[in-house]
Protein backbone atom coordinates (compact mmCIF):
# COMPACT_ATOMS: atom_id res chain seq x y z
CA UNK A 1 0.00 0.00 0.00
CA UNK A 2 1.30 3.45 -0.94
CA UNK A 3 2.21 5.63 2.04
CA UNK A 4 3.42 8.90 0.49
CA UNK A 5 0.93 11.77 0.32
CA UNK A 6 1.72 14.02 -2.65
CA UNK A 7 0.31 17.19 -1.03
CA UNK A 8 2.14 16.64 2.23
CA UNK A 9 5.43 15.94 0.43
CA UNK A 10 5.08 19.11 -1.68
CA UNK A 11 4.17 21.22 1.37
CA UNK A 12 7.15 19.91 3.33
CA UNK A 13 9.45 20.76 0.43
CA UNK A 14 8.11 24.30 0.17
CA UNK A 15 8.44 24.87 3.90
CA UNK A 16 12.14 24.00 3.68
CA UNK A 17 12.84 26.01 0.54
CA UNK A 18 11.14 29.27 1.50
CA UNK A 19 13.56 30.44 4.22
CA UNK A 20 16.60 29.52 2.10
CA UNK A 21 15.36 31.49 -0.89
CA UNK A 22 14.74 34.45 1.46
CA UNK A 23 14.34 37.64 -0.55
CA UNK A 24 14.21 35.61 -3.78
CA UNK A 25 11.06 33.85 -2.58
CA UNK A 26 8.60 36.26 -4.18
CA UNK A 27 10.07 35.99 -7.67
CA UNK A 28 10.76 32.25 -7.35
CA UNK A 29 7.65 30.99 -5.58
CA UNK A 30 5.62 30.28 -8.72
CA UNK A 31 8.37 28.03 -10.10
CA UNK A 32 9.29 26.52 -6.75
CA UNK A 33 5.69 25.51 -6.03
CA UNK A 34 5.34 23.90 -9.45
CA UNK A 35 8.64 22.02 -9.22
CA UNK A 36 7.96 20.86 -5.64
CA UNK A 37 4.64 19.45 -6.81
CA UNK A 38 6.35 17.66 -9.72
CA UNK A 39 9.00 16.14 -7.47
CA UNK A 40 6.38 15.08 -4.93
CA UNK A 41 4.36 13.43 -7.69
CA UNK A 42 7.51 11.70 -8.96
CA UNK A 43 8.10 10.19 -5.50
CA UNK A 44 4.53 8.95 -5.25
CA UNK A 45 4.64 7.43 -8.77
CA UNK A 46 7.96 5.83 -7.99
CA UNK A 47 6.53 4.26 -4.86
CA UNK A 48 3.63 2.82 -6.87
CA UNK A 49 5.95 1.55 -9.63
CA UNK A 50 8.32 0.02 -7.11
CA UNK A 51 5.41 -1.74 -5.40
CA UNK A 52 4.15 -2.97 -8.77
CA UNK A 53 7.65 -4.14 -9.71
CA UNK A 54 7.70 -2.16 -12.97
CA UNK A 55 10.94 -0.30 -12.17
CA UNK A 56 14.11 -1.32 -10.40
CA UNK A 57 15.91 0.55 -7.65
CA UNK A 58 18.58 1.68 -10.13
CA UNK A 59 15.97 2.95 -12.59
CA UNK A 60 14.11 4.83 -9.82
CA UNK A 61 17.36 6.58 -8.89
CA UNK A 62 18.00 7.59 -12.50
CA UNK A 63 14.43 8.87 -12.97
CA UNK A 64 14.66 10.85 -9.76
CA UNK A 65 17.95 12.39 -10.89
CA UNK A 66 16.29 13.39 -14.17
CA UNK A 67 13.34 15.03 -12.41
CA UNK A 68 15.73 16.88 -10.10
CA UNK A 69 17.78 18.12 -13.07
CA UNK A 70 14.60 19.29 -14.81
CA UNK A 71 13.59 21.27 -11.70
CA UNK A 72 17.06 22.83 -11.50
CA UNK A 73 16.77 23.83 -15.18
CA UNK A 74 13.44 25.56 -14.50
CA UNK A 75 14.95 27.42 -11.55
CA UNK A 76 17.98 28.37 -13.66
CA UNK A 77 15.68 29.86 -16.29
CA UNK A 78 13.75 31.76 -13.62
CA UNK A 79 15.99 34.80 -13.57
CA UNK A 80 17.72 36.12 -10.54
CA UNK A 81 17.38 33.29 -8.04
CA UNK A 82 21.03 32.36 -8.26
CA UNK A 83 22.37 28.88 -8.95
CA UNK A 84 23.70 28.39 -5.47
CA UNK A 85 20.50 29.42 -3.70
CA UNK A 86 18.39 27.20 -5.99
CA UNK A 87 20.63 24.18 -5.41
CA UNK A 88 20.80 24.81 -1.66
CA UNK A 89 17.04 25.16 -1.39
CA UNK A 90 16.50 21.99 -3.40
CA UNK A 91 18.99 20.00 -1.30
CA UNK A 92 17.43 21.21 1.95
CA UNK A 93 13.95 20.26 0.73
CA UNK A 94 15.09 16.81 -0.34
CA UNK A 95 17.04 16.36 2.89
CA UNK A 96 13.85 16.92 4.86
CA UNK A 97 12.12 14.17 2.93
CA UNK A 98 14.91 11.65 3.25
CA UNK A 99 13.34 9.45 5.93
CA UNK A 100 9.72 9.25 4.70
CA UNK A 101 10.69 8.80 1.03
CA UNK A 102 13.42 6.22 1.64
CA UNK A 103 11.13 4.35 4.02
CA UNK A 104 8.25 4.31 1.53
CA UNK A 105 10.44 3.13 -1.34
CA UNK A 106 12.29 0.57 0.73
CA UNK A 107 15.72 1.71 -0.45
CA UNK A 108 17.98 4.74 -0.16
CA UNK A 109 16.86 7.14 -2.89
CA UNK A 110 17.79 10.36 -1.06
Amino acid sequence: MATLDVNKVAEDMLAKMKPILGQNWEKAKEYVKEESAKLALAFVKMEAQKLAGTITEQQAKILFDMQKNASLAVLAAAGGIGDLAAAQAMNAALGALKDPVNQALGFKLL
Partner: protein, 154 residues
Protein backbone atom coordinates in the same frame (compact mmCIF):
# COMPACT_ATOMS: atom_id res chain seq x y z
CA UNK B 1 38.31 80.32 -30.73
CA UNK B 2 36.79 80.01 -27.31
CA UNK B 3 33.49 79.02 -28.92
CA UNK B 4 35.37 76.38 -31.02
CA UNK B 5 36.98 74.84 -27.94
CA UNK B 6 33.64 74.72 -26.20
CA UNK B 7 32.14 72.92 -29.18
CA UNK B 8 34.86 70.28 -29.11
CA UNK B 9 34.46 69.86 -25.37
CA UNK B 10 30.73 69.26 -25.78
CA UNK B 11 31.41 66.66 -28.49
CA UNK B 12 34.12 64.93 -26.44
CA UNK B 13 31.95 64.88 -23.33
CA UNK B 14 29.06 63.41 -25.32
CA UNK B 15 31.32 60.68 -26.72
CA UNK B 16 32.69 59.90 -23.26
CA UNK B 17 29.20 59.82 -21.74
CA UNK B 18 27.99 57.50 -24.53
CA UNK B 19 30.96 55.19 -23.95
CA UNK B 20 30.24 55.02 -20.21
CA UNK B 21 26.54 54.38 -20.91
CA UNK B 22 27.23 51.63 -23.44
CA UNK B 23 29.79 49.94 -21.18
CA UNK B 24 27.09 49.64 -18.55
CA UNK B 25 24.60 48.06 -20.93
CA UNK B 26 24.31 44.24 -20.81
CA UNK B 27 25.77 42.37 -23.77
CA UNK B 28 22.92 40.82 -25.78
CA UNK B 29 23.16 37.09 -25.29
CA UNK B 30 20.25 35.91 -27.36
CA UNK B 31 21.46 33.22 -29.72
CA UNK B 32 19.16 32.30 -32.64
CA UNK B 33 21.28 29.19 -33.34
CA UNK B 34 20.62 27.94 -29.82
CA UNK B 35 16.91 28.50 -30.23
CA UNK B 36 16.93 26.51 -33.48
CA UNK B 37 19.01 23.76 -31.85
CA UNK B 38 16.57 23.49 -28.96
CA UNK B 39 13.63 23.06 -31.36
CA UNK B 40 15.52 20.41 -33.30
CA UNK B 41 16.53 18.53 -30.12
CA UNK B 42 12.94 18.48 -28.90
CA UNK B 43 11.81 16.91 -32.17
CA UNK B 44 14.67 14.40 -32.21
CA UNK B 45 14.20 13.29 -28.59
CA UNK B 46 10.42 13.07 -28.98
CA UNK B 47 10.72 10.97 -32.14
CA UNK B 48 13.41 8.72 -30.69
CA UNK B 49 11.53 7.97 -27.45
CA UNK B 50 8.26 7.37 -29.32
CA UNK B 51 10.00 4.91 -31.68
CA UNK B 52 11.91 3.24 -28.84
CA UNK B 53 8.73 2.76 -26.81
CA UNK B 54 6.89 1.40 -29.85
CA UNK B 55 9.66 -1.13 -30.50
CA UNK B 56 10.21 -2.03 -26.82
CA UNK B 57 10.43 -5.79 -26.43
CA UNK B 58 11.67 -6.33 -29.99
CA UNK B 59 15.31 -6.60 -31.14
CA UNK B 60 15.24 -3.14 -32.75
CA UNK B 61 14.11 -1.62 -29.44
CA UNK B 62 17.11 -2.88 -27.50
CA UNK B 63 19.78 -0.43 -26.45
CA UNK B 64 22.40 -2.52 -28.25
CA UNK B 65 20.68 -1.94 -31.58
CA UNK B 66 23.08 0.21 -33.65
CA UNK B 67 20.70 3.08 -34.42
CA UNK B 68 19.78 3.44 -30.76
CA UNK B 69 23.35 3.70 -29.51
CA UNK B 70 24.14 6.16 -32.29
CA UNK B 71 21.30 8.46 -31.20
CA UNK B 72 22.89 9.00 -27.79
CA UNK B 73 26.31 9.71 -29.32
CA UNK B 74 24.84 12.16 -31.85
CA UNK B 75 22.82 14.00 -29.20
CA UNK B 76 25.81 14.36 -26.89
CA UNK B 77 27.93 15.66 -29.76
CA UNK B 78 25.27 18.19 -30.73
CA UNK B 79 24.75 19.46 -27.17
CA UNK B 80 28.49 19.52 -26.46
CA UNK B 81 29.12 21.48 -29.65
CA UNK B 82 26.44 24.02 -28.75
CA UNK B 83 27.82 24.42 -25.21
CA UNK B 84 31.30 25.09 -26.65
CA UNK B 85 29.89 27.59 -29.13
CA UNK B 86 27.85 29.42 -26.51
CA UNK B 87 30.90 29.65 -24.24
CA UNK B 88 33.11 30.83 -27.13
CA UNK B 89 30.87 33.82 -27.80
CA UNK B 90 30.46 34.57 -24.06
CA UNK B 91 26.83 33.56 -24.31
CA UNK B 92 24.40 33.13 -21.46
CA UNK B 93 25.94 31.18 -18.54
CA UNK B 94 22.44 30.08 -17.57
CA UNK B 95 21.86 28.65 -21.05
CA UNK B 96 25.11 26.69 -20.62
CA UNK B 97 23.94 25.47 -17.23
CA UNK B 98 20.64 24.23 -18.66
CA UNK B 99 22.42 22.51 -21.58
CA UNK B 100 24.73 20.76 -19.12
CA UNK B 101 21.66 19.46 -17.24
CA UNK B 102 20.21 18.36 -20.59
CA UNK B 103 23.42 16.52 -21.42
CA UNK B 104 23.30 14.72 -18.05
CA UNK B 105 19.73 13.66 -18.76
CA UNK B 106 20.51 12.33 -22.23
CA UNK B 107 23.11 10.19 -20.45
CA UNK B 108 20.48 9.23 -17.86
CA UNK B 109 18.10 8.26 -20.68
CA UNK B 110 20.87 6.13 -22.19
CA UNK B 111 21.42 4.41 -18.83
CA UNK B 112 17.69 3.73 -18.46
CA UNK B 113 17.56 2.23 -21.95
CA UNK B 114 20.65 0.11 -21.32
CA UNK B 115 19.42 -0.99 -17.87
CA UNK B 116 16.26 -2.55 -19.29
CA UNK B 117 18.08 -5.10 -21.46
CA UNK B 118 15.91 -6.91 -23.99
CA UNK B 119 12.76 -5.10 -22.83
CA UNK B 120 14.14 -1.85 -24.22
CA UNK B 121 12.79 1.59 -23.36
CA UNK B 122 9.31 0.85 -22.00
CA UNK B 123 6.78 3.63 -21.46
CA UNK B 124 7.26 3.34 -17.66
CA UNK B 125 10.80 4.59 -18.26
CA UNK B 126 10.44 6.60 -21.45
CA UNK B 127 7.48 8.79 -20.46
CA UNK B 128 8.91 10.34 -17.27
CA UNK B 129 12.32 10.65 -18.96
CA UNK B 130 10.78 12.52 -21.90
CA UNK B 131 8.86 14.80 -19.50
CA UNK B 132 12.10 15.73 -17.72
CA UNK B 133 14.00 16.41 -20.96
CA UNK B 134 11.12 18.43 -22.42
CA UNK B 135 11.00 20.51 -19.21
CA UNK B 136 14.69 21.33 -19.68
CA UNK B 137 14.15 22.29 -23.32
CA UNK B 138 11.20 24.49 -22.34
CA UNK B 139 13.40 26.17 -19.72
CA UNK B 140 16.00 26.82 -22.44
CA UNK B 141 13.31 28.27 -24.74
CA UNK B 142 11.94 30.47 -21.96
CA UNK B 143 15.41 31.83 -21.26
CA UNK B 144 16.05 32.49 -24.97
CA UNK B 145 12.69 34.17 -25.34
CA UNK B 146 13.49 36.50 -22.42
CA UNK B 147 16.94 37.23 -23.83
CA UNK B 148 15.42 38.04 -27.21
CA UNK B 149 12.90 40.41 -25.68
CA UNK B 150 15.62 42.05 -23.62
CA UNK B 151 13.92 41.32 -20.29
CA UNK B 152 16.84 39.21 -19.13
CA UNK B 153 20.60 39.45 -19.60
CA UNK B 154 21.39 35.79 -19.19
Amino acid sequence: MVRGNLGWRVVLCSVAASAVFLAGCPVPRYDPKLEAASTSWKAQVGRFIAEAEASAGTPSGEYESEGNKQFYTDMQNAIGGQIAQTRAVSGSPRAVEIMELLSKDIENLRKLHESNGKSGLTSELGDPARAAIETELRALDKLQSELRSGSDNG
